[in-house]
Each structure stands twice: as C-alpha cells, then as structure tokens.
Subunit: 586 residues, 2 copies
C-alpha cells in the first residue's frame, strides 16, 4: 500500500501549539496526528488513527490469545445500574450525566463493571459457564477537572476494558494472572519501558490491584522501587506503624511561649535555644505538624480532616486524594476556621482535634511515625504557644493512622527490602481483583456443582489505548519530532524524492511499488517542496525508516536513514528495494 | 481460527423477546448477537460484533478504494459550531445535549458536517489541496422519539460518514459520483437487495441527494418506481401542478345546506341526490378537504397549517413531516380551534383560511391537483353547510402548493415515465450534495488559481453500519433463524459434532483444524447437548455452511448443510475437509 504525501490529509506545524507542555502532546499536534476539539477531546487525523489502530490490533491479539472474547457495549448508559452500586453518586463531577427527551437519566460510561456484570447475569447461570473473560475496545468518558497533556488525560478516550468472571478465588487469581501476562506482552510489543507496581483500587473497590506505569519524567504518577523488588505507586504505599517507644523518661508536657516561630525551621531553632532537649538537639522531625483539609463527599457535604505528621514531611495531596476517594479534597478556608473556633491557625495541637468528647469534631489521623511513646513539640492551641514533650498514647491520641506523607528517596521500603528510589510514570494499564462487590450488588449468582447459588467473583482490567499512543510518543520522541517503534508506526517506510528532475520521483515511485508489493506500507513524499522541508517533515512524522532518493541517484546511490539512531547508509540504487525490505523484515 | 461453542459467550433463546416486532430484531436477540441496554441502545455480543466488524471492513475497503482517508472525530462535541449553523436549535429534541462540570454546553454528535468543515479549514488553504474526501466509522447519537426495531432505528448507532471538499461544482459532482459508485459496491458486497432513489435533503440542507433503500416489507421508508426508471422516496416526490382548466362554464359558487354528511362519501351521495352536476356525477375527487395541523418550530413556537387536497386523498404525515423539517408536526386540538374562532370544525373552507387580509391567519397550502380553474365542493365555514362550484383562481387562492398527499399505486410518475408502483425500504445509505452551506457558515475558503479566496463546496455521505447488520438480517432471515451471506457471516463454517461417542467429536475437531488451516473461521459445536438442540442452534445462528459429524461417521460419511437453501449433501468423511474448503472458496 502506497500513500502519497500530495494526497495525505496532513499538515505539519512549524510552531508548538500554545497549550502543549509535554513532548508527546506537542509533536502529535505538530506532526498532524491529532487536533484538539475541546478541552480533553481530540480528533484523530489519518496518521494518528493509523497508530491508534495498530495499538488496538496488538491489544486485541493478546486479549484473544488468552481466550478473552470481544464484545461492544454502549457509551450511553442508563442510570439505574450505577445507582445500585452507588457510582452514579460516587463519581461526583467526573461523570458526564444527561437526560433524554423523556427526562430519563443517562451517563456516558467511564468504565463498564455494572453493564458487564448484568450482561453475564443475563446469559449465564451455571459454574459450567465459567471462567469467562470478555472485553471491549471502546470510547470512554470522564469529566476530568484538569484535562491535560493531549491524549494523556482526556475526557473522551479509547480504552480496552476486560472483565473476568470466576466461581472462586483461585479462578479469579488465574484470570488475573492471565491478564497480567497478556499486559506484559502488550506493553512489550508496544515498545514501552514500564514497571508493574502495587496500586490502590480507588473507586473501583476490590482487593489486589497492580498498575503498569510507563516510565516518563512527565508522568502524572509517582512510584517507588527498592533494590529488593518492592514496587508501588506512592498512592499504594503503606508504611508500617513505627515501633512503640519507652517514654517513661520523658518529662510531663509543658506549654511554652514561642514567639516569632511561624516556620518549622524557626520553631526548631527557638526550641534549641530556649528549651534544649536533654539528649540531643531538636530536629524538624521532632515537631508534630497538624494540617487541615476539607473533604467534599460525592453528595456535596464537606467535613474537616486533620493530618498529624512529623514537621520534616509534607502531605502528598495525590496520596491523600487516593486515600479519601470517592471524596474530593478541598482547602480549609478562613470561613472554615470561623466554623471551628477551637482551631487556632498556626498553633493547632492534638488537644483541639479528634472526634472524641474533648475534640473540636475534626477527624484527626496521624502518620505512621506517630507511634505509641513518641515525643513531640506541637501546637498548644493558643496563639504564639507550643506544647513540648507531648507523648503519643500518654498525652494524646488520634482517630487513626493514615500514611499520606510525601515519600522521599532513601525511605525504607515497607517490606524491608531496602531504600526506596522514586520515579514518575504514565498509567498504561491497571488490573484489579474486584472480588464480589459488583456481582453482589447486581445479583450475579450461578449454580455451583452442588446446585447451590453462589456469587461470582470478578476481575477488571484496563488498557488506556489512546493514552498508549501518547505514552509511546512521550517516551520516544526527540528534539526533531516523533520516533515510532516499528510495531505501531503509521508506515513502514517513508520514501522521500528530492530535486526537480523527473528521475528521482520516478525511481522513488518504482521503489515504493516494490516495497509495497513485499507487503509493507509506504509513505511516498512526492511533493514539489525543497529537500529541507521534506527532510524536516520526515523527522517530525517519525516513520522508523526513510529512503532519500535525490542527487545521489545520478551516481546510482540512494540513502537509507534510521529515524531512531540518525544513522545514514548509502546503498546502490539497484539494491535499494532489497535492502529496505531486509531492514523491515528484521 | 476455531471457536468452540463450549467457550463462546452466547445463549440462544427459545422465545421471542417481548419488544421485538421485526424478524431482524427477533433473531438477532434470540441468536445472542445483541442485547438491549435501554430504548434504542444495544450491546454487541461476540457473534454480533463479528458481523459488525465484517461490515465495517467492507465499508472501509470501498472508501479507501476511492481515495477517501479515514479519520476519527469525537462523539462529545462543543455547542459553538452547531450554534453557528443553527443545528443546535434545529435538531430540537433529537439532539442529546449535556453540560460539563464547568457548565459548558456539549452535544453527542448526530452527524459531523460542522466538525469536518472546521478540520479542513484548520489544515487546508489552497485549491491545490483539493479534492479531498475524508471519512470515519464512528458512534453517533440521536434521541429518536420512537426508537424502533432493534438496530434499525437506534439512539446510539454506528455510521460511516464521509465528507467531500471541492473547489467547484464539477468537482463536487465527481466526488458524489465516486461515493455513489462505492456505495453500490458496498451494498452489493453486503448481499443486500436495494434501490437508489431520489431523496430529500432534510435538515442537512443542500441540493441533490439520493438514498440507498434496502427493499424490505417492514422498512420505515416508502418509495415509488416507474417502468421508465423514475425512483424516489415518497418524501422526495414532487408532482407537477395540474394544468389550468377553463372554468368559464362553471356556475357562480353557492352555499347549500348539507346535513348529515360528516364523511366525504356521505357528502358525495348527498350532492349527487340534491345538487347534481350537469356533466357527470360528483366524485370524492371533486371535494376539497382542508386538513389542519400545528407545526412546532425548534424553538417551541406553534403555528397552524391547513392543507387543501382532493377528498379522495389523505395527507401522508411522513411526507408532510419531511416537508416541514426542522419543524415537527403536532395535532390541531380543540384548544387550537378556540384560538381560531373563524374555523368551523368539519366545514372548513378556503374563505376562512390563508394569510391574506380575509384569512384567519392560517397558512393554507394546496395540493398540485388544485390548479387554476379547478372546481370544488368544500366547506362553507358554517356548521352543516358546503359551498359548491368554488373555482380555484376565480373564487379562492392559497398561500402556495405543497405535495404531501398519500401516493397511490398507479399514480403517474412526475417525469411522465409511467405509472408508479409503491414499496417499502430501509435507509441503508444517503448521499448529499451539500454545496456551500456549511463552508459558508463556518468560513471554509481556499485560494483559487488566481489567488482569490473561494468558498469550498461539500458533499456528505452516510452508511448506517449497525443498521446494515439489521437490514441484512431482515432480508435474509427465515422462520428458523438468521441466514448470513458469506461475506458478513460471523464464521465461515459451523461444524456440529453429535452423539455421545468420542469419535464424532474427535473427527469434528480434526476437520475444524484442517479447515481453519486453510484460512477459514470455524465454529465448532463441542457441547454435550442433544443433536436436536445443536441443529436448532445452528439454524438460529445462521452460519452459511454447516457440517454435521454424527452417526454417519461409522459408515464413513458426514453431512454438509447449506443454511440458505436447506440442501443437505452426504460426503465421504475422508473428503470432508477438501469439500468444505471447496465450498468456502466458491
């Protein structure tokens, strides 16, 4: 198949689009692969669609290879099933909701657990029908608060979502493992550099879950790894509670006047100067910082939350957001302080927090470092005052432990497998052991071998198909443009004819014919444009192999260029077709 | 590729679904191809999706063959472009509208003229870039008032829509002709029996337009044909105004008392008895019936419309609806009569109608039969009274001509090509010469060879892809189930192993292997079910060729069954693979 540039619906742009911060976004737009229609909503031009279809084909092949069967569900879905599982409400503003002409409520499906569960309930009734894995490659909708980075976080996007149905936990584990193995093959074939990390289940519910993260400096997710093999999205890291300490020698708590100490640093300096510790100097980690937030529940109700953590750590809002789902995070405002007069801004201490009798009615959760017997300097609930030698368990308690502090390079892995390193990634896939949550809610039961009705256990598995296109571009593009791996490139070879003579174009057309007949997809640049424009466009478009047919033809040579390495090889024109085919067959 | 029935996600139903009136709907549900999710919204199970994908592949091939390039636009679209072309309003309640979390207005695209126009405007700027044809195979949305017949009239459905862009009318004609030729190939390959008829452009605007109608007794559209080659959707038929007549001998109009004549029949009988006509008996066609409707404009305003037509004809509401688009039709109610006191129910005559000085402010449009000099009996605007010898042009006029009377078998074709026959059909495709309407509204201009900016002229071309699946089923299914043409069948061959012995199943599996290796898709019924159940399911599922491996195997024979003809052929088991492959290669 030969596509001529003079006919191809594409235009490359010389300038970066104004809204494009990431390389993938920039180059996919500049190279004419996609165009923005609205925030987080994109059109696919012919080149982009070719890549998308190749990614889809790889996903489809690997799903079929594990015996998963393809189906296709609507995007426009009735409210009722999502009402039963509470997701109609829990999705909050992330759900696109609408009404039809009769006033019936509908949503644009963000994911299809409910509908797949009902479909299996409709068709199947016996353990003999299981296991079953079914999937679709389908357009999904989420009204993201911050659509971002082109295809990386869109509001309309293409996903492959599969669902497994098993009679028991062992079956679910097997289905999960099969999907995990298939995902490894998919992302390997897509040429992506990725890690598999522990993940949280979020709004989906369920127990075990892992993410496939494409390693990318601009990724939205942060993950940690240890030399011993621990790997997790920071959202899923749960540090164990620090060991209890013996606090028998700690003096009784005492409130001190601590003027001019608005920062942890100033407080530590003042403390060391005026209230020195007996055994060593005070450090930032000896202070207990209490940070206030407002949680907004899906029904709109707001409730306060205080997080107590060592002064040398910050709250990681992404970890906190993951921990409080489906609630959303909001700032604790001046108006909120008015509603909780016991809270003294800048001097909040445990005594004014907590849901207990003495508290201000503010849920108080503490970092795992705040264990029994630990000793703290913290707010005294009076302006300009802190309390010293406040001991956890002896002098105060919290409503529970919550690990949402920012993780740091070198922190120990929770499983003791060594110091953590941090990196960023793009979520490419997510696999969940849902368990019986949806089957229970929607009544998906089958007869077991003893004729007893049992609830089916489910898994849910997603690949961001359109996002994968962007993730590949993000990983592989360089300062000149896109650089596609061979498996997903829009064309196998880009033949560029240069010069004003007829000979190069004729030779290029013949060469294109020969390579096309060998079963490859050829892009032929037959435009009347300068060699400079054509070479630049070839680099922007990113087809892995280019052949330049130009001045050298008179001497019987053409040039083969490798987009990824930049390598250029002159080959005899008479051998060009053979050499190109050999490269493409590699 | 072999699919085993024991693994296939399908269940056939013994009973018709309650809501299924048409064979296609009934069998697609009973055979486990589709499932209803909400009114007009369906899920595709594996078998249905296989057929859908085959139809899509044929459409894609023929589009690519005429040089059309595939793109993919969002379904969720911003309001603004549709506001500019007025379609945001004109679509009325047929449009699914929604707001995002910021309150911005969106719609679910019913068709994409606006977005394609803007995309070409974004990329192209010169006549040298044209002609261009681009298309997508995409999910579309229309909030139909009466979703019907499963996939035949859905609210979420798959369409192929293409758009052509040309610099001049000759270019548009060429693009239109290319699409027309491609559509012929598509519907031929789909095995459909269809006609190409003149059509109205409806809300789309533009000039020339034709429809491809699949001939089907249950079709929603009615079309006419003449021996001389005239073919048109009844909505697009425009009968010429009847020739003027000499009315010089007609007496002056006179009002008569006509009691007890509530029907045309009674009025004619009474007239012949009491007020005989001088030259011949009065006939129903001599009476002028004035029928009242209310039009509801997209903005909700209601306005009255009176249609005057001979008493032997009825108003065809589908023709009328097509004529008044984007307005919708509503009944003229008792309340409406109160608002127009000049209108006497049952005795409405031209004197009380019309927008002129003497009228009641009701637009009055007359049938083409009501030409200059024609002589009528009609209402006298008094209870129990009719006026006789009222002559068009002499005694009354109308506000214009509107041809919306029900057409009848034997009516003359408007082009004089002979008597019309009527039949019903399913709209499979629609091709439009849009002209410059959208390009003008959205500012799509390019530089012509003289450096002058000229507005581009466009065509729009649609194939109902999911509807085609139903149309094929509607045309081919029989009393036992589905009967797929080979090109779109979910499998090439259905191999049924019967009996409790291991031998038939083993032989069937080996046969499946051999046929699969020859490149065909095999469905292998390896279930532990009775032969009766398996044969019935094979007939319901409708794979064109079945092979039964059963008792005959002991004598060395298997049976090949043709689903369409019912023909059964015993062949030596040793030759089975060869014979099946020969049939599939035919």
């Amino acid at each position: 198949m030969i596509t001529r540039m003079t006919k191809l619906f594409v235009r490359t742009l010389r300038e970066d689009p104004a809204d494009a911060e990431l390389p993938s976004h920039r180059w996919l737009v500049r190279a004419g692969y996609i165009r923005r229609v609205a925030p987080g909503i994109y059109s696919w031009l012919p080149l982009g669609l070719r890549v998308l279809h190749k990614v889809e084909a790889i996903v489809r092949e690997e799903m079929n290879a594990i015996g998963a069967q393809e189906v296709h569900l609507p995007a426009l879905l009735p409210r009722e099933p999502y009402e039963i599982t509470h997701r109609w409400t829990e999705y909050g503003p992330n759900l696109f909701r609408l009404q039809d002409r009769k006033g019936a409520d509908y949503l644009l499906g963000p994911t299809h657990e409910e509908m797949f569960t009902l479909m299996v309930k409709d068709l199947y009734s016996s353990y003999k029908d299981l296991p079953l894995s079914i999937y679709q490659i389908q357009t999904k909708y989420r009204d993201e608060a911050r659509p971002r980075a082109g295809l990386l976080r869109g509001r309309e996007f293409v996903m492959k979502d599969s669902y497994s149905f098993d009679i028991d936990d062992a079956g679910l584990q097997a289905s999960y493992d099969a999907h995990r193995a298939a995902y490894i093959k998919i992302f390997d074939r897509l040429g992506l550099d990725y890690v598999i990390v522990k993940a949280t289940s979020g709004a989906m519910g369920g127990s075990a879950s892992e993410e496939f993260l494409g390693i990318a400096a601009n990724g939205e997710d942060t993950f940690v790894r240890s030399p011993g093999g621990y790997a997790a999205n920071v959202e899923a890291v749960v540090r164990p509670l620090a060991p209890a300490r013996d606090a028998s020698g700690v003096p009784a708590p005492h409130v001190e006047d601590t003027p001019d100490s608005p920062t942890i640093e100033a407080l530590v300096a003042l403390s060391n100067a005026r209230f020195p510790r007996e055994d060593r100097a005070w450090e930032a980690g000896d202070t207990l910082k209490n940070v206030l937030f407002m949680l907004v529940q899906p029904d709109g109700t707001r409730e306060p939350l205080a997080i107590g953590l060592p002064g040398d750590r910050e709250v990681d809002t992404k970890r906190l957001e993951a921990a409080i789902e489906p609630a959303e995070l909001d700032a604790f405002t001046e108006d909120d302080f008015l509603a909780f007069p016991a809270l003294v801004k800048g001097y909040i201490g445990p005594a004014a927090l907590g849901l207990g009798e003495d508290g201000a009615g503010v849920r108080y959760l503490t970092d795992p470092a705040v264990s029994e017997g630990t000793r703290w300097i913290t707010g005294a609930n009076e302006p300009g005052h802190h309390v010293y030698d406040l001991v956890m368990g002896r002098d105060f308690t919290s409503d529970g432990v919550l690990d949402v502090a920012e993780l740091r390079e070198g922190d120990p892995a929770p499983d003791g497998s060594g110091p953590l390193t941090l990196a960023r990634g793009i979520e490419l896939g997510h696999i969940f052991q849902l368990g019986r949550k949806y089957a229970e809610a929607l009544g998906l039961k089958v007869l077991d071998p003893n004729g007893k009705l049992v609830t089916v256990t489910m898994g849910s598995y997603g690949v961001g198909v359109s996002r994968a296109v962007a993730a590949i571009a993000e990983e592989t593009s360089d300062e000149k443009g896109l650089v596609w791996p061979r498996n997903v490139a829009p064309f196998d070879v880009h033949i560029v004819a240069t010069g004003k003579d007829a000979a190069p174009l004729e030779f290029a057309a013949t060469l294109a014919e020969a390579v096309s007949e060998a079963g490859f997809e050829v892009l032929l640049d037959d435009r009347k444009a300068s060699p400079g424009v054509k070479f630049a466009d070839a680099e922007v478009l990113g087809v892995p192999t280019a052949v330049v047919v130009g001045r050298g033809l008179a001497e019987g040579v053409v040039e083969i260029r490798d987009r990824a390495t930049g390598e250029r090889t002159e080959v005899p024109a008479s051998e060009a077709a053979e050499r190109v085919v050999a490269i493409l067959n590699r």
